[in-house]
């Protein structure tokens, strides 16, 4: 299992494989449609959704525009509350800091709360190399870890697995990691959850070190926030003696009060609930309650490079709700693995190439993994204009231009004649050969006007390459969109 997905084929090839896997496609379609419908209902319950969305956008934009000031303020608040702040410029440095912190405790195992930041940096692998076992404790992450697999969705990482596969993984692998699966385990979700409960409980009760990410950090107070459902987060955040949180620098909000906006928009956008079952908030350390030592590792790893891009920086507003995945016609067919990143779907298509640069084939192809239909923008609770950023990144790949890598300005060459362009072209053709492409309508036309016909093959050429079509789900994107307006349909 690799957190960084090194050596992934470019999007179209990976997507092609996914499209030809009917089980995967069925699971994905069921999942995205179910969550989408529920979400629309949860959003419709709050009459001020538009105002909350605007406030969320402005809070995040304001924070990003003054990020240096807020980072310093956060460091002061966390330190004053008894925490220790570390700064990590890249994945390697973050892994080194965490490894040393764990080593200093003398422990050889850690329990982990689901965290995309630690997946992004490949922390589990780095710890393993240092002889430290990291146990994922979110049920879906446990399934992924035991299955030596990769997550395929932000919110439901094991959505590509069905219950029979999960049972087989538990029966086969649990014993090697700790408490074995109970005799006669069936594939009922309740029994599988119980098996996970027993397996993980012995780890929680003896763990001395917990590792987490965070959904939000409050500059004003130094408070960190983790939003979850199962209680594994609470276990990892409160039972161990040492807590280490690895958090991207973009996760700051300025004030305590700002949380009122995101605690309303995040649960509804992500799990379609009024509120998720558990939210934990902690400020440094508390005498007699919870970990005695708290370390916060602030992670850059490409975020400042993303910040330097005036169009692309809005991707840093993302609160990882996964709503954009669930409405995306391309994600629905291609699946999360095709994106070759811990950030799949529309947000992954703009975030990964910015965090990592577009030097690799997969990263150069990601901005083309979209039909530009705009559904992702419509649902995004912080109003990230994903299509705008996609077009911007396509232009940069095709025409070259200035970008920032590791803090330095670089001038990228146009991709013409290069592998990246070929990958991009194939991706474009792939996206356009799917039902989303031609039904994408006005938004597509207006968005792509600037670079037609230089970087995209014309629709005719796209259609000529549609050998995948017979295996694509029946409903064309255009019809789906008309029927549901991007998931706003609540009649189903």
């Amino acid at each position: 299992m690799s957190g960084t997905f090194v050596g992934m084929p470019a999007f179209p090839k990976a997507a092609h494989e996914a499209v030809n896997n009917p089980t995967l496609r069925g699971n994905l379609r069921h999942a995205t449609h179910t969550i989408r419908t529920k979400r629309a209902k949860a959003v419709a319950e709050v009459s001020d959704w538009a105002e909350l969305r605007e406030a969320g956008k402005r809070i995040k934009d304001h924070t990003l525009r003054h990020l240096d000031g807020y980072l310093v303020r956060l460091e002061e608040s966390v330190t004053a509350a008894g925490g220790v702040v570390h700064w990590a410029a890249d994945a390697e440095e973050a892994n080194r800091i965490v490894t040393e912190l764990v080593r200093a405790t003398g422990e050889r195992e850690v329990v982990k709360v689901k965290s995309m930041a630690t997946q992004e940096i490949g922390l589990n692998e780095a710890l393993e190399a240092a002889g430290i076992h990291a146990y994922e404790t979110d049920l879906a992450e446990l399934i992924v870890q035991l299955g030596k697999d990769r997550p395929s969705h932000i919110l439901v990482p094991a959505i590509h697995r069905n219950r029979g596969e999960i049972r087989d993984i538990f029966v086969r692998e649990m014993g090697a990691w700790g408490r074995a699966a109970p005799e006669g385990l069936t594939d009922s979700p309740a029994e599988l959850a119980e098996a996970a409960r027993l397996h993980l409980r012995e780890k929680f009760l003896r763990a001395k070190v917990g590792i987490s990410g965070a959904n939000f950090m409050v500059a004003e107070t130094g408070t960190l926030v983790v939003v979850e459902s199962e209680g594994n987060g609470r276990m990892c955040l409160t039972l161990p003696e040492t807590l280490i949180s690895v958090v991207g620098i973009e996760k700051i909000v300025p004030t305590w009060r700002d949380l009122e906006v995101f605690l309303q928009t995040l649960p509804r956008s992500s799990t379609a609930e009024r509120m998720n079952p558990y939210t934990s908030m902690w400020t440094g350390t508390t005498d007699g309650d919870g970990p005695r030592a708290f370390h916060l590792v602030l992670l850059d790893n490409g975020r400042t490079d993303t910040l330097a891009d005036e169009v692309g920086r809005q991707a840093l507003r993302c609160i990882r709700c996964s709503a954009c995945l669930n409405v995306c016609p391309v994600y629905e067919r291609a699946g999360g693995h095709a994106y070759g990143s811990v950030y799949p779907g529309p947000i992954g298509a703009i975030l990964s190439p910015q965090l990592r640069g577009t030097a690799s084939e997969i990263d150069a192809s990601l901005p083309y993994a979209s039909s530009l239909c705009g559904a992702c923008y419509e649902v995004c609770p912080v109003a990230i204009d994903i299509p705008e950023v996609l077009v911007h990144l396509r232009e940069r790949i095709a025409q070259g231009g200035r970008a920032t890598r590791d803090g330095n300005t670089v001038v990228l060459k146009p991709a013409k004649g290069h592998a990246a362009e070929r990958a991009a072209m194939r991706a474009a053709r792939w996206a356009f050969s799917h039902p989303g492409a031609l039904g994408a309508g006005q938004r597509l036309a207006s968005r792509t006007r600037r670079f037609h016909p230089r970087t995209l093959p014309g629709p005719g050429r796209a259609w000529s390459g549609t050998r995948d079509l017979p295996t694509v789900p029946a409903e064309p994107f255009r019809e789906w969109w008309q029927r549901t307006r991007g998931g706003k349909d609540t009649t189903k």
Binding site: E45, V46, D48, E51, R58, R65, H66, L67, D68, G69, L71, E75, W87, A88, A89, E93, T137, L139, A140, V156, N162, R163, P189, L192, A193, R197, R201, F204, A219, E220, S229, E230, G231, R234, T238, P254, T255, R257, D258, L259, E260, V261, Q264, E273, R274, M275, N276, P277, Y278, T279, T283, T286, D289, G290, T304, L307, E310, R313, T404, G407
Partner: protein, 226 residues
Amino acid sequence: MSSRDLILGRVRRALADVPRDGTPPVPEQSGRDLRYEQAVDRSYLREHGARSLAETVDLLAENLADYRAVVHRATEEELPYVVMRLLAERGPQYVLVPPGLPPEWMSAADPTRVHDRAVSTPGELDKVTSVVTGCALAIAETGTIVLDGGPDQGRRRITLIPDHHICVVRVPGQVVASVPQAMERLDPTRPLTWISGPSATSDIELDRVEGVHGPRTLEVVLVGEV
């Protein structure tokens, strides 16, 4: 150069296009920074809909139940008997109570008490079958109870390890309508746990299963009258 200076330097260079008017508007705990207040439009609602106090409490009960918490209502006098009944229904008990729980709440029940001592390990707490606590407040619109580690709630771990949590909410005093109203009343320097229904997961084919790691049963007693 330290990574701190490196990252802060990169941030400043990345924001070269952003006009800087002197110091960044960093809010202080004492008093608000006006520029920040102006940067964020807070025209969203403080409460969704107009409700009487009684209606707000009803909404809380409804939303708690919708997320599979078991809701009971009682007067002050009835409360000890309700607690007794809820504990007795689960058979022989090891019950954990935080140090500052009002003694009258437990005056009718006679379970084997377990105390959360500084030296007790999580493994010892694993023997506990039920825990009884108060709360800091409850949010009607979302069906959420919030614990802040106060004397009638205890440390975070005691409401986490036992499988059965009985939480007493005083109405109407501890009930707020909305998340914004809750934020105003909570103290960020305390560790906070927001609970909306029992532990749950939908990770296996999106089938909801209650109780993975946290308590599988959450019973909320709304005590008092409106």
